[in-house]
Structure formats: C-alpha cells, structure tokens
C-alpha cells in the first residue's frame, strides 16, 4: 500500500509542526517517514496512517527532528566555511598571489602617502561594512521572494545568508569605522592594517560572490524544486 498525495502533504505539515521549517530538510524526512509507514503497512495493513506515523516518529528519539536539524545546520556551515577557505587559498597561489600582493602594497602606499588618512579609511569602512551588508540585504530579499512565490524556505539559502556563520565578522567593518584615526601610525602598523584589510575584503568577496552563487548552483542541480529568483 502506497501513501496518497494528500498523506504526503500531511507529512510535510507534520514536519513543519515539529519545527522543521526548511523544505530541503523536510523533503528527506517526509520520504523517510513515508517509507517507514509503507513498510509497516506491509506487515499490518490495518494500522491507520496516524498510528503508523506516530510509531515512525518515535524512532527519532525524544528530541524528535531537532538533532537532525541542528547537525545538518552545523554540517552545512562547516561546508560553507571549507569552501570559502578553499577559494581564499587560491589568492595566495600563482598567478593570483601577484594581485593580492599588489593590492596590499598599493593600499599601504596610499595609506602612508596621504596627509589625511580619512581619504582612504572612510572608503575602506564603506567597502568592508556597507557593501557586505547591502549584499546580505539583497540575498534576504531574494529569499523572501522565493518564500512568497513558492512557500518554501531552504536551509541552504539561510546558510548562504549567514555566510556560514561568518556574518558575525562584519563587526570588524564596524570596528574600522570607529577606529581612532587621529593617532600617529607607524609604518609597521600601517602595513599590518593594509594586510588585514585586504585579507578581510578578500574573504568577504569569496564568500559573497564566489561561494554563495556556487552553492545555489549546486542545489539547483541536485534539487528539482529549487529555483533561482
């Protein structure tokens, strides 16, 4: 005996009621529960849908689906950060390392060459703070649009939005904005600052413009229901 379309829909509602809000996670759990219920019906066809569902759900333990969601989120965050690290390392290999060193050197030269550091530090603060915030805001609007159009939320998208947990590092941009610019900076400090800013900007660039789009492409290939908005 197979589950009907309406029963499959009931399983989606069931996972939602048990705090699974992401469609990609729900889909796997729904198939698992459905297989379990159908298997029970093979041995006991008199069992009602709800009785069989309750029995299958108990197999997930007292925490229900929460362990699955928690671990999946952790795993995806780790995956995201590993991808960022992989592409970030590319900037320290030939030929990209030439560009990276050139950026650091140029920034350093401008920093020590200008009489008033504000001319470089204010655009820097805008770059490392407002550009990522704007990109994250754009992403969140895209996710909302998908939710409105399809009534689906994807864990995947949420991980991208949080930049795999790296979103908290945007705080560094805020620190740059409030930096004490009036003190005299040594050449060593200026160099360290230049290296820090370039590396931080590169990490954000990799996360927002390389890894997040790549992840969306991957899920679009894997999942027939995922659509770009």
């Amino acid at each position: 005996m197979k589950l009907t379309d309406s029963q499959i829909q009931q399983l989606y509602t069931f996972t939602q009621k048990h705090f699974v809000e992401y469609y990609d996670v729900q889909t796997e759990l729904v198939d698992h529960l459905a297989n379990g219920i159908e298997n029970q019906w093979k041995n006991n066809p008199k069992l009602t849908f709800n009785e069989a569902l309750e029995f299958e759900f108990k197999k997930f333990g007292i925490c229900g689906f929460s362990d699955v969601i928690e671990e999946k989120t952790k795993a995806l965050n780790k995956h995201y950060r590993l991808l960022v690290w992989r592409y970030f390392k590319e900037f320290f290999k030939l030929p990209k390392i030439i560009g990276t060193l050139f950026l650091i050197w140029s920034y350093y030269q401008v920093l020590i060459g200008l009489n008033n550091r504000y001319w470089i530090l204010i655009p820097t603060a805008i770059l490392v703070l407002f550009v990522p915030i704007w990109a994250v805001y754009k992403q969140s609007r895209r996710i909302k649009a998908i939710k409105q159009q399809t009534n689906k939320k994807w864990l995947f998208d949420n991980i991208s939005l949080q930049l795999g947990g790296m979103v908290h590092f945007l705080n560094i941009g805020l620190q740059v904005s409030f930096f004490n610019y009036s003190t005299i900076w040594s050449h060593t400090f200026s160099l360290v600052f230049s290296i820090g800013i370039v590396l931080f900007s590169l990490a954000l660039y990799v996360a927002i413009w390389i890894v997040s789009p790549k992840l969306r492409k991957t899920i679009a290939l894997q999942h027939p229901d995922y659509k770009f908005a």
Partner: protein
C-alpha cells in the same frame, strides 16, 4: 545508533562501505540494509544516521541527487571520488582495530 555502544564509532565506516557496494542509496534504505545484513543485530537509529550522512556530505565524501519516486522526492547519496578513497582507508583502519582487539581479547587466535 544501535543496541551496543561499541558500534557507534563505526557508523561512518558502515555507511561508506554500503555506498561503496551500491551505486546510490537513500537514508531509509541504509537502515533497512544494515538490519538485514546483521539479521537485526544492529539497528541504525534515524537520529544518528542523518547527522552522519549530512556530515559526510559536508566533508565532500558524498554527493547528493534528488529524484522523484512515486509521489514524493527522494534524496540519494553516492560516494564522491574522495569518498571512495576514504572508504578504503576507513576499512583498513577498522580491520587493524579488529586485529588489535583480537590480540587483546583472544591472544591464541591472533
């Protein structure tokens, strides 16, 4: 995961080994396969299986494919190239562990 804590550390190896023998498998299928192969001795719980699968996927050892089967979507897992290499290494590790344990608990057989 199972009726014995001794199996816990081997869940990853079990999953990799099964996927090495099959082109692709889905979560429920893995639990049933293990049950059949071990004649019910080992039962992989759902709460342990999915976190393990998601971790392996995140580490790049498994690839995923979602396909429509009957009236629902099914997520299949299959080994990546790295996953295949890791399976060999994990199985060697397990064989070594069994050998060591054998030497400890039953020196005559070792």
């Amino acid at each position: 995961m199972s009726n014995s804590k001794l199996y816990k550390g081997s869940l990853t190896t079990i999953i990799l080994k099964l996927l090495n023998e099959h082109d692709k498998m889905y979560g429920y299928e893995i639990t049933q396969k293990v049950k059949v192969l071990t004649k019910g001795e080992l039962k992989i719980t759902e709460g342990a299986l999915y976190p393990a699968l998601h971790k392996l996927e995140a580490e790049g050892l498994l690839d995923v494919e979602v396909a429509k089967v009957d009236n629902r979507l099914r997520k299949y897992y299959k080994l990546t190239e790295t996953g295949t290499k890791e399976t060999v290494s994990k199985l060697e590790e397990l064989a070594e562990y069994i050998k060591t344990m054998q030497a400890l608990v039953n020196p005559k057989l070792a």
